[in-house]
């Protein structure tokens, strides 16, 4: 059985099913209750689960810090940060406490928190509403970072994240929330964390992307001359190197696409891993198609900043022509 859902609806379904399954799951955040969240991801959930869905005071450090206390003492907190760019106001709670509680107590306490955050550009939002900080989260030992690219994965990955005993940063591409309806399995559906997926098989070049950029990449390869293989990374950290390496060993070429700034971005890490373990399979340098090292521009310029089909296609051409 499957139904046709948008990504935001798939997320709501995962939250509903997990709250019904496990009463320790507590959903809270700014405006998530009565109004159902700024993107309506939690719409009507408070009516269904009045003991499990709460509006929180406007305080990101508190939302994340309370998650540490809740999570370490028996709850499964699923806080929402209204926009990922406001997680910075609670970033210290993630770095200083949530991520290291298990390690510093040698396993006696853990924080099974899943932080849901709308992220990325493409919806003409206000300044500081569109940043992509996945590399920042990925750099913190003890955090997992997940970015679904389609409704089915959104449900499956969020379910897995909520059930995961460790803190998971769950980044939801704002531009994908209502982009398309797709088939989503009804009932129990999990997608394991830490596993990438080959979403298109090909022989000439590997394109690695995630979230909203996965769709740009798919459009780009449809028009490209080459037979491209596309890997949806899905979990940023811990990263599934094996799937990427296997693909690159086959194609000999790789293009990594992300919306985040280039320097220190995940493309750099992926390139390094390819160098470590598949260097001699490469027939061309790994290409990066990324955002620029500038603050995410306000929306009059955001299309110029974000990698699009054309830039990705040029990246593929560079990889093929080398």
């Amino acid at each position: 059985m499957a139904n046709e859902l948008r990504l935001v609806e798939a997320i709501r379904q995962a939250l509903r099913e997990e709250m019904a399954r496990d009463e320790s799951v507590v959903v809270y955040g700014e405006d998530v209750g009565v109004s159902g969240g700024v993107f309506r991801a939690t719409q009507e959930l408070q009516d269904e689960f009045p003991e499990q869905v709460y509006d929180a005071p406007l305080a990101e450090a508190a939302i994340l810090g309370m998650g540490v206390g809740l999570g370490a003492t028996g709850f499964t907190p699923v806080p929402e940060i209204q926009f990922a760019s406001f997680a910075y106001q609670g970033f210290h709670q993630l770095v200083q406490h949530a991520s290291r509680m298990r390690s510093r107590t040698r396993g006696t306490l853990g924080v099974p928190m899943t932080v849901r955050m709308p992220y990325g550009g493409g919806i003409r939002a206000l300044e500081l509403h569109s940043e992509s900080f996945e590399a920042g989260f990925a750099h913190v030992p003890g955090l997992k970072t997940v970015v679904p690219s389609n409704p089915s994965d959104a449900k499956g990955l969020l379910t897995a994240a909520i059930r995961d005993p460790d803190p998971v940063m769950f980044l939801e591409s704002t531009s994908r929330y209502r982009a398309a309806r797709e088939s989503v399995p009804e009932g129990e559906h999990t997608v394991p964390l830490g596993e990438a997926e080959v979403v298109r098989e090909g022989a000439d070049v590997t394109v690695v992307a995630w979230g909203a950029m996965l769709h740009e990449a798919m459009s780009a390869v449809e028009d490209a001359e080459a037979d491209a293989e596309v890997v949806d990374l899905r979990t940023i950290s811990p990263m599934d190197s094996a799937t990427i390496l296997e693909s690159v060993r086959k194609t000999g070429r790789c293009v990594v696409v992300h919306e985040a700034p280039r320097t220190g971005g995940l493309a750099a890490e992926i390139t390094a891993r390819i160098n470590d373990d598949a260097l001699y399979h490469l027939e061309a340098p790994v290409e990066r198609v990324t955002g620029y090292d500038v603050p995410f521009p306000m929306f009059a310029r955001e299309e110029a900043y974000r990698p699009d089909e054309e830039r990705i296609r040029r990246g593929i051409e560079r990889a093929l022509s080398a």
Binding site: A62, T73, H97, R106, L109, K144, A272, R273, D277
Partner: protein, 399 residues
């Protein structure tokens, strides 16, 4: 222009036992004789434990330690008011509170020796929080959980006067008030945030009034009066258990250094120190217990001997544990289940440590991994041994 007054507030101050050890019965908590003597023993134990920990650091046998000397009444009086299954959420200066809640001293030493083993949670104690003022939010979360679950319990968090300048402390009080979190915010105003005195920390007349803006109750107590602290802490916990969080400001004084890396003589006068010496929490409580006939020289000597014996055993245990440190365990518990890349890093580490040879690329090793790991000695503490006796009297000043 006539303006209407729309709010008014006051801050109450509580003292049960004055500096001479005389009791104000109206403020005194109901405590039986055995508990009174036990509280005295715990304060003495904590004082001596801190002295021993400082001496170990001076000898190079331990790392940085943050003593609670002078704050024993604030910690023992509040910690003993909690039930054993209520969560304590401490900062890094809560040795007396940990000991009161039954944590063995060797665990505190392990933490000072740089071992995560010391932060393994025993019973309902959170590990020490090193960042200043972040942990009150954890108590808010725990306390909110009690509200959600309908449990008649409260979480108590410790922090200092400096922490009240941090935004998280206000956020914690504010969200606790808004969400009826079962939380007690126990501020030990020990007058110093390292070298920054209380007056430089804030223009607020009291720290307790910081609760007012969050809409929760704030109260001051003489933090060197263990009975006043117990009384206030009991009331605060009772209130919190009903969903009304409380902020307690315990006025006390850090008699020794911020940590063993600090030298208070740089910023503090001997006059200030001797002034607070007369308000010492142990001296005052002992005078009271002697007046009540609960202590005499014999009993005090017996307690002293028991404490020395206990601490000697615990120090031996800490040292023995330090010898058992396995470096590769740093890879354990980063996640509940170790991801492939981390497992690979661990295997590389163990291989390189095992035979001291650098593994090759053919073995599936990355250049980065080849470069790393060779320098790990496996024994954390390489401080120079000094000739100071462990039993040397500790002045409370840095060297």
């Amino acid at each position: 222009m006539v303006r209407d007054q729309v709010a008014d507030f006051s801050v109450e101050y509580v003292q049960a036992l004055d500096e001479e050890g005389d009791l104000d019965a109206a403020q005194a908590p109901d405590v039986d004789d055995d508990q009174l003597v036990e509280m005295y023993r715990l304060m003495r134990l904590s004082r001596r434990a801190d002295e021993r920990a400082i001496a170990l650091q001076r000898r190079g046998e331990s790392g940085t330690y943050a003593p609670a000397i002078g704050q024993e009444a604030a910690q023992v009086g509040s910690a003993i008011a909690m039930t054993p299954d209520e969560w304590m959420v401490p900062s890094f200066r809560e040795s007396a509170a940990f000991l009161t809640r039954g944590a063995p001293f060797h665990r505190l030493l392990w933490y000072a020796m740089g071992m995560e083993e010391g932060a393994e949670v025993a019973d309902a104690n959170f590990p020490p929080a090193i960042p200043v003022g972040t942990q009150p939010l954890h108590a808010a979360g725990i306390g909110w959980g009690h509200e959600i679950a309908g449990e008649r319990k409260a979480a108590l968090t410790y922090f200092g006067d400096g922490a009240t300048s941090e935004g998280d402390v206000y956020e914690a009080m504010n969200v606790s008030g808004a969400l009826d979190a079962h939380a007690v915010f126990f501020c030990q105003n020990n007058q110093w945030a390292i070298s920054t005195p209380r007056e430089t920390q804030t223009r607020a007349e009291t720290l307790a009034q910081k609760a007012v803006a969050a809409g929760i109750e704030g109260v001051q107590v003489d933090g060197n009066d263990v009975l006043g602290v117990l009384s206030v802490a009991r009331d605060a916990l009772e209130s919190a258990r009903e969903g009304d969080p409380v902020f307690v400001e315990a006025l006390t004084f850090r008699r020794s250094m911020h940590t063993t890396s600090d030298d208070p003589s740089v910023y503090r006068t001997e006059e200030q120190e001797s002034e607070w010496e007369t308000r010492d929490p142990i001296v005052r409580f002992e005078a009271y217990l002697r007046n009540e006939g609960l202590l005499d020289d014999d009993r005090v000597d017996r307690i002293t001997d028991e404490i020395e014996e206990l601490l000697a055993d615990e120090i031996d245990r800490a040292k023995a544990g330090r010898e058992q440190v396995v470096p590769a365990e740093m890879f354990d518990h980063v996640f509940a289940e170790t991801p492939p890349e981390l497992q690979r890093q661990r295997e590389t580490f163990e291989r390189e440590q095992g035979d001291g040879e650098v593994a090759s690329a053919e073995e599936g090793m990355s250049g980065e991994e080849r470069a790393a790991g060779g320098e790990v000695s496996g024994r954390g503490d390489v401080r120079e041994e000094r000739e100071t006796s462990e039993d040397e009297e500790v002045s409370g000043r840095g060297e």
